[in-house]
């Protein structure tokens, strides 16, 4: 399948894959200071290789960040309007494609979170991985934990950095830990015991960290990217040296994300206009037995193995993808601020550049087979 290109007429900085969905759905938020901002819904018809699109109006302001709830049909947006930044939880209506004549839809429910007393600069609002009602909002140098009640969401906990520097964003590590990007490093806070730093990687990068992702399948493994053009994967139990590092981008990297199903596949995108698919098999959860046994073999192997076994080794070796960049996607002409894996299909991802170009791409078949077989 060739990649599908979709053009939005406005600048766009945010993209998210709807997580609680059977369909292959992506939401793209536009970023315009003066104008009616929108959230575009792209649904990929896998059989016909076609796109179905819908536009939701988001007149509240320009969208900086979109996130999706893993357990419900909800989105969270961070937007600014008249220099004030806000965050809202948006409910995606059912049957959006029911009426083809309607071009612009509205979200079923919009709840603006009460962030104003806490700060000015909101970076992201992240849904709790399992609890639909818990949200974390990164604002200035704080993380607010919201609990969505019937009427209104309430701040139930607050994490404040001792350092005055602002957080650049964050993600849930697991149900109880929230990782924030803090200048050149990352810190993980325990949400039950506020202000307790569970662990940190103080100088993960030599320049600010732009994004991070948590490996969903392998505990203690996170990926960070930053202005130093570097992708690093860390075992958080060793915060001195990364277990994997690559410098394949030529400028800042703006996003990083693990494939939820095959976490050796990592998607990064950056201001050099490229989307890179990197394989980090050596530190993925699929570092399988064959690799281990092969390593063991190599150690005590003196070369008098059976041919058959060798052949077998060769095969397993073949099937093991090598670490490094697998593929460069260069359909974008401007900076790519977001590249997201599809939540429903492990072989599809979507990227969006500032000039409004959205590209839905597929992992080349050869890699797919190599991973599956």
């Amino acid at each position: 399948m060739e990649s599908i290109i979709y053009g939005i007429e406005f600048q766009a900085r945010s993209l998210v894959s709807q997580q609680d969905a059977e369909e292959i759905r992506f939401f793209i938020g536009t970023q315009m200071i003066n104008g009616k901002n929108q959230i575009h819904l792209l649904e990929v018809d896998d059989d016909n290789n076609k796109l179905k699109t819908k536009t939701f109006s988001h007149e509240q302001g320009e969208i900086w960040k979109l996130t999706s709830c893993p357990t419900d049909k909800l989105l969270a947006s961070v937007y600014s309007s008249n220099l004030v930044m806000k965050s809202a939880v948006l409910k995606i209506p059912e049957n959006v494609f029911l009426d083809p004549s309607v071009e612009t839809l509205d979200f079923e429910d919009v709840e603006v979170l009460d962030t104003e007393p806490h700060g000015t600069e909101i970076k992201t609002t992240e849904f709790h991985p399992t609890n639909t009602n818990v949200l974390a909002t990164v604002i200035d140098s704080k993380v607010l934990i919201f609990n969505r009640a019937e009427a209104k969401s309430q701040v139930v906990a607050e994490i404040t950095s001792k350092n005055s520097a602002k957080f650049a964003g964050g993600k849930w590590n697991n149900s109880n830990q929230f990782v924030v990007m803090h200048e050149n490093g990352v810190k993980s806070y325990d949400t039950r015991e506020s202000n307790h730093v569970a662990w940190e990687i103080p100088n993960a990068h030599i320049q600010p960290v732009r994004d991070l992702d948590v490996n969903p399948n392998k505990a203690f493994t996170i990926a960070t990217v930053g202005d130093d053009c570097t992708l690093k994967i860390w075992d958080i139990r060793n915060n001195k040296t990364p277990v994997f590092s690559r410098r394949d981008h030529q400028h800042w990297i703006f996003s990083v994300s693990f494939n939820k199903f095959h976490d050796q596949l990592i998607l990064t995108s950056g201001s050099d206009g490229k989307v890179l698919l990197t394989c980090a098999a050596s530190c993925s959860s699929e570092t399988n037995v064959s690799t281990m046994s092969r390593d063991m073999k190599e150690k005590d192997d003196d070369g008098d193995d059976d041919d058959i076994e060798e052949e077998f080794q060769l095969k397993t070796r073949k099937s093991q993808l090598k670490d490094g960049v697998l593929e460069k996607f260069e359909q974008h002409e401007d900076s790519v601020y977001c590249a997201e894996w599809c939540s429903a299909d492990p072989w599809i991802f979507c990227s969006c550049s500032w000039d409004g170009r959205v590209v839905v791409s597929r992992i080349p078949k050869k890699y797919k087979y190599q991973i599956l077989l």
């Binding site: 053009g7 007429e9 406005f10 600048q11 315009m32 200071i33 003066n34 600014s80 220099l83 030599i206 320049q207 202005d227 130093d228 053009c229 570097t230 690093k232 040296t241 990364p242 590092s245 690559r246 410098r247 030529q250 400028h251 800042w252 201001s271 050099d272 206009g273 002409e333 900076s335 500032w354 000039d355 409004g356």
Partner: protein, 730 residues
Amino acid sequence: MAERHENPYDMNSSSFDADKYLNKLLKSCNLKQIMDTEAIIVKDTQTLTSEMQTLVYENYNKFISATETIRKMKTDFLEMENEMKKLADNMKEITDSSDQITGTLQETRTELTKLTEKSALLKKLSGISSLPSKLTQLVNERNYIQAVQEYTRAKRVLELYGNQPSFKGIQEDCAVIMSNLQTILKEDFQRADKKTIHLTETGDLLLQLGESPSNLSKEMLQFATQRLHDELILLSDQTERDMIDFVDIGIEGFLNDLTLVTSSFYEMFVTKHFECEDDSFQELARSNLNEFVNKNMTAYLNLVQERVESETGDTQILLRALDRLHRRLCAMKNLGRGIEISRTGIDLIIHSVQQLCQTHYKILKDSFNDNLSSIRLTLVTSKNDGSLTELIDTLYVNTIEKVKGVLQDLLVFLNPEWSFNIKMDHKGISCIEGIRENLLVAFLRHISTVVTSFSDINSSCPANLLLVLSKLCLKLEKGGIRSLLNLVDELYEIDSENSSVLTHETELNSEILESAKTLLDAYVRVQGMNVSQMLRKSVETRDWINCLEPRSVRAVMKRVVDELTNIDGTLEELFESGQLNTTTSSDSSRKTHFSMSMQGKSQYRSTLSNFTSSQADNSLVHRLFSERVDIFNSSVDFSKVSIMSGIIRISLKTLLECVRLRTFSKYGLQQIQVDAHYLQLNLWRFVADENIIYILLDDILGSAVLRCLEKNPSGMLMEPNAVDLIVERF
């Protein structure tokens, strides 16, 4: 003459025919002639007749005297005959008498012979009877050789008459003595401290005494092994000593012994033929000997090797020692036919060459690392950008000279003084090639790896170090590698051109060039990041909403330009400037660029003027018509301009990204406009293709316009003249 014989007209001829002659005469001559001829013939006839008369007379006298003589002889012979008869009679008498005498004497002589024989036998017997005491005496005197000789001599007699009671005693006595002797000899044979030369004697004696050669040969080797083993243990305690001493002791003790044992064994068992043993015995003995020799040699050489491995001192001494050893070992090769010493000292030497290579390789690596750290220190401590060229040259020359020195040092192995010739051996050749491959080539690769590691993700090193290293690689590529390879090929007479296994120069060159490129890329990245950092901080920390109307270019822009000028200066002395598109950097050309860029901007203006209505369309159109420029696609090459472009590209891209993350008021936008214009005026001179700069600056301004709060942001831009004025004034 024959003719004359047949000539009937010749008077002297026998076939003379008087008639024919006369006829001829009558026919052929006139009267006068005939008359003359007649006269001549008559005269001749008369002469001849008188001559004949004289002759007859003379001969008659002679005949008479002869007759007289014969008559006298006849009487004399009669007398002689009588005398001879008498003599014959006498002789007969004599013969008779002689026969008589012989007959009488015959009996006496037979008796005499018998008596003589008996006396000899008696003498012998008396010797045998005294044999035991004699043997005992000889044994006591330790004159074993004599004893054995005596015994062997008597042995047969004893065996012959052994069944007679009188001899039986003697034989038994002898046997006891000899078996004692045998025991003594065996003990001697087995004793450790015995000199090997005696061993041969003893062995010989034992053989004569009827010891089985196979047993004896086995025993001999067994005990020799034991003894040599002891010596090795002794030797292994001597490893503290000087290498030469160590080898000397080994040669004096162990090798000499081994040689003696081997040669005596060879003489005793391999060259002789024993009747009592199989035909295959000699072969067996030979193979046993071989095994023995090789086993011991291996043990010894292993010991020497251990010693060599622990050797850290002077190569010369080591070599002299090895040379001595090698000489000795070569001499040992001629011990005997069929003895093969599989391992020779050459292995050892080759091994030590390899070992030395390793050491030198390590030294080279260490010294290179030291050089690097000292340069790093220099770069970090002396903040002034000093002369990088000097540093590079020092590093380059140091490295090259060090390698050359090492190559010269290793040349001692090929010194013709030595008795060994490494090159004779195929292993040796590969070892020599190892100097090239495992030392030089490996070191060059090491350089390449080490310097490349400075550009690693996790390494943080001063940008100038990257530059120095890149330049070093470049210098190596430009001729350093070739000169070193040529040197090694020349010194060691290696034909690398035609070899398929040896690393070729081009291969190394491309590797090092790759390193140089990687380092240069890293340099561009590091410097780009440094400048980026300044720009990023300046954009992030400023309040773009509430700023005042721009009166001047922001100071940070000047710092950025200064920094770039600085970098440019540093690069100037190291790299060629490369392709500058403007040959005339005069004021007029700057004006042109300026107006050009103004045009570019006005184009933007036209796009932006109807921004509110169909901004996106126009933006798309703008994109469509401007060729897609991938600012990161052009790779950096080794020219100042290219490097500078790289740095500037990264920096401006950073500025662009920073601008896009911010929101601007009218004055903020105008400030960006002023800054961009300032950059435009100051950056073009660093690069080859200023379009890149214009595109990026246009993008920056365009993004700033998009990020502006005003309803009609493009209308908020300042007049070009005003911008110009501000920038000029700055």
